[in-house]
């Protein structure tokens, strides 16, 4: 083997390694998102009921003494059985002996019946959030409280009934994770943006490819490329400062943040993608097509519309797919202008919350199941994009067969 072949081989293997690594990274991300996002639909939030004491150093659980200081430093709770018929806690509060008795049955259908507090021994029962019971006792110092949290695990979320087709998104206290409002908001804002952005983009591209005078074309093209490079937060800021007040004044709604502002910003944001890819594919149509058409006596308009445009169909389809994907996936600009209220919009000025906005808004605040649910939202987005792409691919195939 000569030196050149050896070098070739090295490069070949290098390219193989690079492409393998990038494919591996992609697969790893997808597997991770799916694994995380599937958790809420198959598992309980915890294996057992947790008994979390606070302000108490030592107590007796069913006759056994538990010292808080002896518990591991990262798990200051006690795990209780799934079924506990008459759990018994004894401890001393303000020097007095207190007995707390309760019953747990996780197989009970109605959530409220899963824990029954039978005797509190002078404590106050409270429900600070869903699936959590609190029994508190007044301490020796005013304002000081001690007591127990009984946190029962939440069962698997039903995918269709409690997630995809549920309307209520109350992740913090009520622990309801319905995303129907967000799916609808994402579909509506994308659809609106496509309706406005795609025709505008296609017409601009046809003009740029076929009719524009040479001098002007250079500047317009540079402008479009520049538009593509502007970070989305800048679009969002423009929308917040200009579009939102405009919508508010025009519609008379209390706030301008909403569907209309989101559609407008998304339409503008998908323009550069649609324009530049469509224009490139129009330019790639061989000169002979145009010359042939013109020679047959067709006008310039007829040529570009009936000959060049159909010949560039697959490139145009690609531009629409990419533009639509951008609208579905856009996050920052939408968060800034859409109002982010999880509701089904009835007017153009109503606030909407898209799927991407939900992930971005709540990832810093999510804990427990909400955290996994955000990954599930990611899966829904992923599947939406897959469906979108395959619909357009089928359409494209259909159209090519026709012609």
């Amino acid at each position: 083997m000569g030196r050149k072949q050896v070098i070739d081989k090295i490069f070949k293997n290098f390219f193989l390694a690079v492409s393998f690594a990038s494919v591996l990274a992609l697969i790893a991300i997808i597997v991770f998102v799916f694994a995380q996002g599937a958790i809420p639909f198959f598992t309980w939030t915890a294996k057992s009921t947790h008994l979390i004491p606070y302000g108490i150093d030592e107590f007796k659980l069913n006759g056994e003494t538990v010292r808080i200081a002896d518990l591991p430093s990262n798990a200051k709770y006690i795990e209780l059985e799934r079924q506990c018929d008459g759990c018994d806690i004894e401890f001393r509060n303000k020097g007095e002996a207190v007995t707390l008795t309760f019953k747990i049955d996780l197989d009970e259908d109605i959530v409220a019946d899963r824990v029954k507090i039978i005797e509190t021994g002078g404590g106050e029962v409270d429900y600070p959030e869903e699936f959590v019971y609190e029994v508190s006792y007044k301490g020796a110092i005013a304002g000081q409280k001690s007591g127990f949290f009984i946190a029962i695990p939440q069962g698997p979320t039903k995918f269709f009934k409690e997630f995809l087709f549920a309307k209520d998104w109350h992740p913090v206290y009520k622990k309801q994770y319905g995303i129907l409002t967000m799916v609808i908001a994402t579909l509506l804002s994308t659809f609106g943006a496509v309706i406005i952005g795609v025709p505008l983009g296609l017409l601009t591209a046809v003009y740029l490819a076929e009719f524009v005078p040479k001098g002007l074309g250079k500047y317009v093209r540079a402008g479009v490329d520049l538009l593509a490079g502007i970070p989305s937060v800048v679009y969002g800021f423009f929308g917040l400062m200009m579009v939102v007040p405009l919508v508010k004044n025009m519609s008379g709604a209390p706030a301008g943040n909403g569907l209309l502002a989101a559609i407008f910003i998304l339409a503008v944001m998908m323009l550069p993608t649609v324009i530049s890819i469509t224009e490139t594919s129009l330019r790639a149509v061989p000169r002979a097509y145009r010359e042939g058409s013109l020679a047959l006596g067709a006008t310039k308009m007829q040529t570009s519309w009936k000959v060049v445009f159909p010949a560039a169909k697959s490139g145009i389809m690609a531009s629409i797919i990419l533009g639509t994907s951008r609208a579905v996936g856009e996050t920052m600009a939408v968060i800034m202008v859409a109002g982010n209220s999880p509701q089904i919009p009835t007017k153009l000025s109503d606030g909407i919350r898209t799927l991407t906005a939900t992930i971005a808004l709540e990832m810093g605040y999510a804990q427990g199941r909400q955290n996994h649910i955000l990954f599930s939202v990611g899966i829904v987005l992923f599947i939406m994009i897959l469906i979108l792409n395959s619909v357009i691919l089928v359409l494209k195939k259909h159209m090519t067969e026709e012609s």
Partner: protein
């Protein structure tokens, strides 16, 4: 040409590890230490101010603060991704089981805010509850001088500020459908400053002249009123950590934060804890 390219590539490969090693050796020898802090966007401005001052006293210590949200801060402190977490709400039930230590470094009021042009200057807790749950929908129901539908602006679910505000006003998870939800105190401030019909709420540390802060139950939202207890919406700003796992430098920093010098900074816009 090809030879040159390969040579450059090989040279780069050879030099890279050397550069990396050189860097680490340098930092290992000296004393600098970086304290990673993340969490609540409400505690963040206070942490920045404290860090700035601390840097002038101990230039070798860098405090790297990130405003990512209360739950994130608690999570980070629990898993150890940050040495210190910041939280602007009390720990939730599940989080209490983590066995973390809490240090209240200051207290903070939450003021309802409206556009500066709004004639409404004071509200009661009952009125606030009615506004945020959608029973009062027009400004004319609150003031003779202003009309127009109220644009209700809230923080995102899970925000410490939102949790505390909902708890004190008494409408947990009953926010009116259609209320706008914004990311962080800054997002709410921008939205209220730009909309004459809006009402939102902000940590006192964020209130400035671009919005008008309302009195609640007759008490103006000032640090003094939070201290004497007449302003009803206030919560602790917490540092979350594991006392047995933090570095001595970090412990020294926490001691300084709680010292009169640190608390003096907390007193500028917040209520000192000591």
């Amino acid at each position: 040409m090809k030879k040159a390219v390969i040579f450059v590539l090989l040279a780069a490969l050879a030099v890279l590890p050397a550069v990396a090693n050189g860097g680490s050796e340098e930092s290992a020898g000296a004393e600098p230490y970086t304290i990673e802090v993340s969490g609540s966007t409400t505690v963040y401005p206070l942490m920045e101010k404290l860090a700035e001052k601390y840097k002038t006293i101990h230039p070798e210590i860098t405090i790297n603060a990130n405003g990512t949200g209360s739950s994130d801060g608690i999570k980070a402190a629990n898993t150890g991704t940050s040495e210190l977490g910041m939280a602007s709400r009390n720990l939730k039930t599940a989080e209490k089981g983590f066995g973390l230590d809490e240090l209240p470094i200051a207290y903070d009021g939450i003021a309802p805010v409206v556009h500066p042009s709004n004639p409404v200057k004071a509200l009661t807790l009952a009125q606030l509850k009615d506004i945020f749950t959608g029973k009062i929908t027009d400004w004319s129901q609150l003031s003779g001088e202003k009309s127009g539908a109220i644009a209700v602006i809230s923080r995102e679910p899970g925000s410490g500020t939102r949790g505390a505000f909902e708890e004190f006003v008494g409408y947990e998870d009953q926010l009116v459908a259609g209320a706008s939800e914004f990311d962080g105190n800054g997002g709410v401030k921008a939205a209220v400053a730009g909309n004459v019909d809006a009402i939102g709420y902000l940590s006192l540390g964020y209130v400035d002249s671009s919005v008008s802060a309302l009195s609640v139950e007759g008490a103006e939202p000032t640090v003094a009123n939070v201290i004497n207890g007449s302003f009803p919406i206030a919560r602790p700003l917490l540092i979350i950590y594991r006392a047995d796992q933090i570095a001595p430098q970090t412990q020294a920093y926490l001691d300084w934060v709680m010292s009169p010098e640190g608390q003096e900074i907390a007193a500028t816009k917040w209520v000192p804890a000591k």
